[in-house]
């Protein structure tokens, strides 16, 4: 019972934080400079690991799928199989998980240390709202950069798959590209960009919430960092299932 009460009050507080950070958008002061700085550290800073993850994911997809495709004589659709699984599922989810690990932990550790060293109190005492100054720019930065990162992971992933197909299985690159091109529908791309927006929101909200609610000194900072990564990762995977379901029924109703 206690657990359920705690869970519900957590949900309530996160919703409240979301509301306050959204409210910070259409009433000044706005923090453009902070938002740009966060986009740089979150977006540009994560580009390397996200691309690397995408590259090897695309590679391993081909590595594992090609023998099966060959068995059914469908080698030519290797491009399609890599592109659809990357764009629909693996790109958004893996990118979000990598960013949750890299950025979510950094956000909650930074905000957590600021709580512990009373910098958040100082900020409020000096007349600034920490939600506006710290939370809103981080969430906005994640909402904008995560789709872009996902896009780059998808692209690099497809390229990685192509490279493996060519180098290991000797598949013609043109054939691979053609197959990928015809295999992807507009709905895949839309769905693949909607997901990271939601995931970005999850990472930002959860990490800021965990950071701002740090208790118990430096040990608490460690705890909230761990909890931020675990909670946002689990929520990303759960949300991915339901998002896929929603997108599926949405698109099958309108387009197909």
């Amino acid at each position: 019972m206690n657990f359920i009460a705690k869970f519900l009050s957590g949900v309530q507080e996160i919703t409240f934080l979301l509301w306050r950070s959204v409210k910070g958008l259409w009433k000044g002061p706005r923090y453009f400079k902070e938002t740009i700085a966060q986009m740089d550290s979150i977006g540009v800073g994560s580009l390397g690991i996200v691309s690397l993850t995408g590259f090897f994911t695309g590679g391993v997809l081909v590595l594992q799928a090609f023998p099966t495709l060959e068995y059914y004589g469908a080698q030519s659709s290797a491009g399609q199989s890599v592109a659809t699984s990357l764009i629909r599922e693996l790109g958004p989810v893996l990118t979000a998980l990598m960013v949750a690990g890299r950025v979510g932990s950094a956000i909650s550790a930074e905000l957590g240390s600021m709580v512990v060293s009373q910098q958040i109190d100082a900020m409020r005492a000096l007349g600034t709202s920490p939600v506006r100054k710290l939370v809103t720019p981080r969430i906005i930065a994640l909402l904008i950069t995560l789709p872009l990162l996902t896009f780059s992971a998808d692209l690099v992933g497809i390229a990685g798959g192509g490279l493996v197909a060519k180098q290991i299985y000797g598949l013609d690159t043109n054939l691979y590209i053609q197959s990928a091109k015809f295999g992807i529908a507009m709905t895949d791309i839309i769905g693949g960009m909607v997901k990271p927006i939601i995931f970005g929101g999850i990472i930002g909200l959860v990490s800021c919430y965990k950071g701002l609610n740090t208790k118990g000194g430096t040990v608490g900072v460690g705890r909230s960092t761990t909890s931020a990564v675990v909670t946002s990762s689990v929520n990303i995977i759960i949300a991915d299932f339901f998002l896929s379901k929603i997108l599926q029924s949405l698109f099958s109703a309108t387009i197909f």
Binding site: P29, S113, S117, Q118, Q119, D121, A122, M123, R124, A125, L126, G127, T128, S129
Partner: protein, 291 residues
């Protein structure tokens, strides 16, 4: 537990209640029957006190006695369960964060460890409030230099907080709190963990604010030497504008400093430091002797 201390009301220093308003205007800070509890734990139990204009109220008490809570209540970082809090005569008890922002503009806050923003330089820390208000950079610079001169740290202007010693961090914290000339300054154990000479420097800054700038303040501490300095010394300016510290009794008697002592959320003493030293209460005597 029975205490053989007279509960002293805030009018005691002045014979008549009217002069309180007449001579000094509305009190800077007033708590009326403030109560606060977290779950089952009582933090403040029906606390009432007043800080007059230009007065320094030293709040003594052991850890967990509710000292710092008083400061958080004044800033509106916490809200009381019951009672009223007035700042400059205005009832701020039910103010939301937005309304408190206006009140906080007039309050300077000095945190225990300085609470400087790690990512900002000393200059940017002190300038924080002015930068937030988008003040002209030339004016900001002038103000920052003036404040750093007040705390005697002009040389540290371009340093980062990580390069400063504990005492320097507190002084930068004080400079940051004083930007915008607040009429109320709150000190939350500003000398905790500092060596005695550095602690003295911090106390001297508080004395200067009290006697030369006419600032009202609350000085939360559990260190006896802080009480000693603040309640027995005053600052004066000589003809060339140099600051001097003199002992009470040489020429003047200190009227603008009083002490309240907290124990487990209750005010167990309120009055002058001389009265505190004469009390028979065993807890207070032990506290004063550091045993």
């Amino acid at each position: 537990m029975t205490l053989d201390i007279e509960v002293v009301h805030h009018h005691h220093a002045y014979e008549t209640g009217e002069t309180l308003v007449g001579e000094f205007g509305l009190p800077a800070i007033e708590f009326r029957n403030v109560e606060l509890a977290f779950d089952d734990q009582v933090i403040l139990d029906n606390i009432s006190f007043t800080v007059r204009r230009g007065e320094t109220k030293i709040v003594l008490g052991g850890s967990g006695s509710g000292k710092s809570t008083i400061i958080n209540l004044i800033l509106g970082l916490l809200k009381p369960d019951a009672g009223t809090i007035l700042i400059d005569g205005e009832d701020v008890t039910d103010f939301d964060d937005q309304e408190m922002m206006r009140i906080r503009k007039n309050i300077g806050m000095v945190f225990q460890e300085g609470a400087l923003f790690d990512s900002l330089s000393v200059y940017e820390n002190v300038a924080y409030r002015l930068h937030e208000e988008k003040v002209d950079e030339e004016e900001v610079e002038h103000e920052v230099v003036r404040m750093l001169q007040f705390v005697n740290l002009e040389d540290a202007i371009d340093k980062m907080p990580s390069e400063l010693s504990g005492g320097m961090r507190r002084r930068v914290g004080i400079a940051r709190a004083l930007v915008g000339n607040p009429s109320i300054v709150l000190f939350d154990e500003p000398t905790a963990g500092l060596d005695p000479p550095t602690a003295r420097t911090i106390c001297e800054l508080a004395i200067k604010l009290r006697d030369l700038e006419d600032v009202s303040s609350i000085f939360v501490t559990h260190e006896m030497n802080n009480l000693e300095y603040l309640s027995s010394e005053y600052a004066t300016l000589d003809r060339v504008g140099e600051v001097h510290f003199e002992l009470e009794g040489e020429r003047l008697c200190l009227l603008n400093t009083e002490v309240i002592m907290l124990k487990q959320g209750d005010i167990i003493f309120s009055g002058k430091d001389e009265q505190l030293r004469q009390t028979e209460d065993p807890y207070i005597r032990r506290f004063l002797r550091g045993k």
